[in-house]
């Protein structure tokens, strides 16, 4: 079963890459952008058919490796 996870920076953590991307978008004429925050997206295929168990497994992976909880939040976004 495939489970996806999105890792984003917490609100009060500076994201210089997001800021530069925002400025570049602005320079390209996308003037309606309030803010850009860059994150990470993972697609994980686990050997597990029970959606709840698969999600729990990926959540555990997020806590232990995929995200650093000092600066990042994680969200399990879909199960297929």
């Amino acid at each position: 079963m495939k489970v996806s996870a999105v890792i984003t920076l917490k609100k009060d953590v500076l994201d210089p890459q997001g800021k530069v991307i925002h400025e570049t978008l602005d320079g390209m004429g996308f003037n309606s952008v309030n803010e850009v925050r860059q994150g990470k997206y993972f697609e994980i295929d686990v050997k597990e058919n029970d959606p709840k168990k698969a999600k729990d497994l990926v959540e555990d992976m997020c806590k232990k490796l995929l995200a650093n909880l000092v600066i990042e939040n994680y969200k399990i976004i879909e199960t297929q």
């Binding site: 500076l14 210089p16 890459q17 490796l65 995929l66 650093n68 000092v70 600066i71």
Partner: protein
Amino acid sequence: MKSSVITFPGSNCDRDMDVALTKFGFKNKMVWHNDRELPKSDLIVLPGGFSYGDYLRCGSMASKSKIMNSVINFAKSGGLVMGICNGFQILVEAGLVPGVLLRNKYLQFICKNVHVKVDNKENTFFKNLDKKVLEFHIAHNEGNYFCTNDQLKEIEDNNQIAIYYCDQNGNTNDQINPNGSIKNIAGIFNKEKNVLGMMPHPERMIDESLSGEDGSIFFKNLLNNIK
């Protein structure tokens, strides 16, 4: 005195550290990350470099390698552990020192000499050091020290800040902060002060004709403190 330097895939300051430790009298052993047991050591060093190509987050993969269980146990039982640059990143990812190291504020890789102020000498690493300001070298892309406000309060309450970026006279301010680190923090201890993580490289300052001698001062003092 015995030391061990851990080599991870992508470490590139491990041999420099070996040269430095040996020069000042440590009997040093190189340890491969896939080993499970540490040789008997008075000091463990996690060296600089780009372990696992900095994949995911700098130091995150190396912090889970096989040898790290032994390093964590060694640190928790009071053993001296020092992480330099990527080694510092590995220490934060392993949870041995608080905080994280973010991308440098101005998104540039920084490679230059810096001055650092040694604030806390009540620990084995800096005890009896007769200089307050040292000149070391930094070379990193992710050295921007960050922690939560709660962590910062705890760090300050416990005197865990080891060194600050400063000018040659020891003044700390935003202008001489190379990477955006909170409070100009260049190095930090764990609560018990037996684990030190720092971005600057003392092992690059051990030869008068090549660089400078402030690393020599640091290593000689460290050896005397461990004896």
